[in-house]
Symmetry: D2
Subunit: 204 residues, 4 copies
């Protein structure tokens, strides 16, 4: 692309330090009741559906993979064989702005169907924040106003204004948060796994 001579990598280290710092700040302000309610809903749901656009969609998939590993019936909205959502299902939306059009539109349908809607977002006062049963706030320094509108639309228009600043990126925080939800789910479901195993050995 460009023949610049790369003389240092200070921005790489600075950016990583900022992300670690931001993470520590986020941990302090997380709403513990919301976390508990979110985990409760995930455990109670018949099946779990994940949805998100762009990089938030990748975070949704990364979380879905882990849930599948733990034995959940889990689907990513938009994949080939994802079935219809039912009232007893839980749908988790990942959207930094809470305004990503395609995801907000699907969120409304989820509420029409009567399923539980959980949104992981940085904005409580947003379309998705207002209609969700649980809104899990991951505060972000980034002004996500730019993230509104349809994802594919903005992509098509070449509107990438949400790129920087990277040190406070919602996607990183949400990936770490959701992987930490998995840690809790391992603790919660792990016990019964041990039980199942011990019962299994007893029967043989």
């Amino acid at each position: 692309m460009k023949k610049t001579q790369v003389n240092d990598c200070e921005d790489v280290l600075l950016s990583m330090r900022m992300i670690a710092e931001t993470l520590n700040e986020v941990i302090k302000v997380l709403d513990r009741e919301a976390i508990k309610a979110m985990i409760q809903k995930i455990l109670e749901g018949e099946r779990v559906f994940l949805m998100g656009a762009g990089r938030s969609g990748l975070v949704a998939k990364a979380f879905a993979m882990r849930l599948m590993h733990l034995g959940f019936s889990v689907y990513v909205v938009g994949e080939t064989t994802t079935p219809a959502v039912q009232p007893q299902d839980v749908v988790i939306a990942i959207s930094g702005s809470g305004e990503t059009r395609s995801i907000a539109d699907l969120g409304k349908i989820v509420k029409d169907i009567g399923s539980t809607l959980i949104t992981v977002t940085s904005k409580k006062e947003s379309t998705l924040g207002r209609i969700s049963d649980i809104t899990m706030i991951l505060p972000s320094k980034t002004k996500n106003d730019l993230d509104a509108g349809g994802y594919l639309e903005r992509n098509m228009r070449g509107d990438y204004r949400n790129v920087p600043p990277l040190g406070t990126s919602f996607e990183i925080t949400s990936l770490i948060f959701l992987d930490s939800i998995i840690a809790q789910l391992i603790t919660l479901t792990g016990a019964s796994e041990a039980e199942l195993k011990s019962r299994h050995t007893n029967i043989e």
Copy 2:
């Protein structure tokens, strides 16, 4: 799934703190020469190709999106219209163990073609580490020996042994590292963008 009563969320917070801590440790031991060499190769490559399996594949896609936003000609191996790799291209493999079979096999072909191969991994002494032009080590506490073999194969066999411990997950570290590479690239390429703009206003 299960009707457990969720009474606390200490594991969530503990896991997030561990990830932040791990991140700070990783920053201290990063090989600055390797980072600079990696950025140099990305800038010099005709086009950039990303590849990875499973969650590492999602990290590869998240990085590819950002590179596209910055104006790079970038492709993800396995997507519909990804063209053939040419000698003047740069291929970046993301693999925690450096042994993921499908990615290691493709890495060998990349070297046959004569393209530059960069591997982001936690293991220098690995198949991908040994054949790469640049091996970017992101140290991880996780024993990634379990990550060896074909990804789809292990998935098919139900072999998810690499799930925990999550606090030290390679995928999180690599996502943060690569987003920080983007921060440096913005600095490096941003200057010329400003130049272009100033010239543009002069012409009008």
Copy 3:
């Protein structure tokens, strides 16, 4: 799923015969001027973008792969590194009903940007049919009225009314039609490929 005894496979053979018959009928009524105009636009476009939802999206990808093989700069809308659409690009929408919401919404944006929009559909009088520069009609016996609305939405609601009858399916006809466009493009671009080769040998 079910323990039925399968005693015959007459429906399989009947369905295949119906598809072959439908195909022969479609060939008779194709608008040759539209086909020529479509090929002309594909050849003249700076880059080609394909879009479609559900099974039409798979047809779009199958066509995109072939165009890539022929040397076109081609992208599938929604994939990781698909860049912004520019006025000099050609966007091809695949939509049986011409009403698939997400695709029709993107079609409007394509026209806003000023790019060329080609729609392959079974309905001239449809949202996409009305706004497209070229509307390529592939007549279908299927009442595609059911195909209207957002694809992911209908999927989420479990609305699969467009499943049968399969003998007249738009997706099959469009895949065959687009693969036949490739046959024509091979003829049209093949000559210059031979030229390039002969020139290449002259230089060496």
Copy 4:
């Protein structure tokens, strides 16, 4: 791409006629016992898994979508939340040559696990043909010897020799064949659906 003047579209019509003709020939030589056995296995399997590379992978997805619509538990190998294959599952491989490396490798694992393996191919004497429980032959005029080897590998090397001739393409025939399998499955499962409905209304 190129500023050629498009004066005719005879190749498009010729190619479509050839495909319709080929289709009629294929119907005549299909092995009815294999079709019945394939449908029987699909009905008896606990879950159905589809796999294929490149355009055959798109055909696999198109079939998987329809099976999902009919109420089957169906997964595409390689998608985000596809679970581990179990002995009581049925795995369907789509591979023109029967030699596509990644698919053949996975086929061997499927047999190790003890699941039922069905291959839809044009070559009985092939790696996948030899190890499958059912090999469904869709004869093709195309010499598919070129289709051997790893799909991503050949893509990476720019080896697209299997492009023409399109009139006899395995992918088109397999899509039509599999959609016709769906027609039979509708007949076979539809009856019980009606029964279920009538019972349902009786209960209310």
